[in-house]
Point group: C2
Chain length 252, copies 2
């Protein structure tokens, strides 16, 4: 059996009781570290807490050489751990399909995810979010305009946008970097984004949430990763109140 | 202090370790039962598991008479429990603002939510979802067309839609009811929705996930609540594979 377990947002204690139980009963425990990471703990602490060895997986281990995972799932209970909620990424969907095609039963144990946590952290109402987007670190000759297009299309429809910031091996895009990349994409155009909300360390005891213009957010020290960015549409009354109370928002 | 704790999707064991710890340390524990419910457990079982009394809150207790909650939070640690992830509803945002305005520290402990779980259950990619909508039970002279408008606008932009089904006191809208209401809204028009995905009991050990035309889904027994509906846009290859494997989808 192959059980996908979401570790939740930030540290060791964000996993569900059900998820922890699955780990304890597992014959093999895999941890993927390429779509998300728990910045509030370490692999050593996880090993200690679970009392299990953890097999660390990079992208190519899952996408190109998944046989060890599938073999473990054929011979016993294999648990596949991922930060947040599993399956938000295509790469997990593909692994579950491969398992199913080999007759291996699969199951998902969900975890807390930034997808819903943004509403709690910002007060921006869930049903007002449009399509989300991601900003990748630009590569030589590759600097896609898609994230900006998505944000502007949502703003036109008066919808909020979640902007995922790139996660690479030991390199996590910050709110400041994300805003700068968006500004670079807008250079020479009449497009503008009047309001941003930056979030750092969602799920921790002291997340930083700050709302304002790009100028204001550049003065905010968001601290260590993970960061995420939200571009709000025009605010409803309660959303504005919330950002004033919990994100230092000043409409003036 | 006022701590909002998300109970997660389905039963007693969907809460995070952090959330359970907060309950154990609380001086007063409130449970709201009007925006969501855990259908996989009972209030009695919760009381037993937590070793605490639970104060049950209806909508008017939170929105019109929140003083007992705020007083408890002033005098000690008050925990406010809600199914899923807190704050996805406006009513919680309002309570947190009131607490903050009275100088009461607040905190959120997130839980698993259908907002991200739909991606795992259906394989439909998170970044392809547009604005979500809800179908309410119609009242005399009140049968809003908004949910259909949202679905059709998303389809035009090739975006998936999460369709929340009404939750009332002891009355939970089913996938079948939701589809019938949408069909009623389309009567006499040329609008059509070619593909639905119905989900029942997300987060449980045996969720039902079924994809197909309205005719096919009407033949599926989804079982007890909670139900939710998704209207997919045109499917990417991996999404189609996923629905074939895990939702009995047959494109023919």
């Amino acid at each position: 059996m192959l059980i996908f377990v979401g570790l939740g947002l930030y540290d060791l204690d964000d996993i569900s009781l059900k998820g922890l139980q699955a780990i304890k009963e597992a014959d093999a425990v895999f941890l993927e570290t390429y779509t998300s990471v728990l910045t509030g703990t370490t692999i050593e602490q996880m090993r200690e807490k679970y009392g299990k060895d953890l097999i660390i997986l990079k992208r190519q281990d899952v996408e190109q050489k998944p046989e060890p995972i599938l073999t473990a799932a054929k011979n016993g209970i294999a648990v596949f751990l991922t930060g947040g909620d599993p399956m938000v990424s295509t790469t997990h969907a593909d692994l579950r399909i491969r398992a199913h095609e080999q007759g291996i039963p699969t199951k998902i144990i969900h975890g807390s995810s930034i997808v819903s946590a943004v509403s709690g952290l910002t007060g921006l109402q869930n049903y007002r979010f449009g399509k989300s987007c991601s900003i990748p670190y630009p590569a030589p000759k590759w600097f896609p305009k898609t994230p900006l297009d998505t944000i502007l299309a949502n703003l036109k429809q008066n919808l909020h946008t979640i902007v995922y910031l790139d996660i690479q091996e030991n390199r996590y895009m910050s709110v400041h970097e994300g805003i700068e990349l968006l500004e670079k994409l807008m250079e020479g155009s009449t497009d503008s984004i009047p309001l941003f909300v930056g979030i750092a360390r969602a799920g921790s005891n002291s997340p930083v949430v700050a709302a304002g213009s790009s100028e204001r957010l550049k003065l905010v020290d968001f601290g260590p990763p993970l960061h995420i960015l939200v571009v709000p549409a025009s605010l409803h009354e309660i959303e504005e109140e919330y950002l004033k109370n919990f994100a230092g928002y000043d409409p003036q």
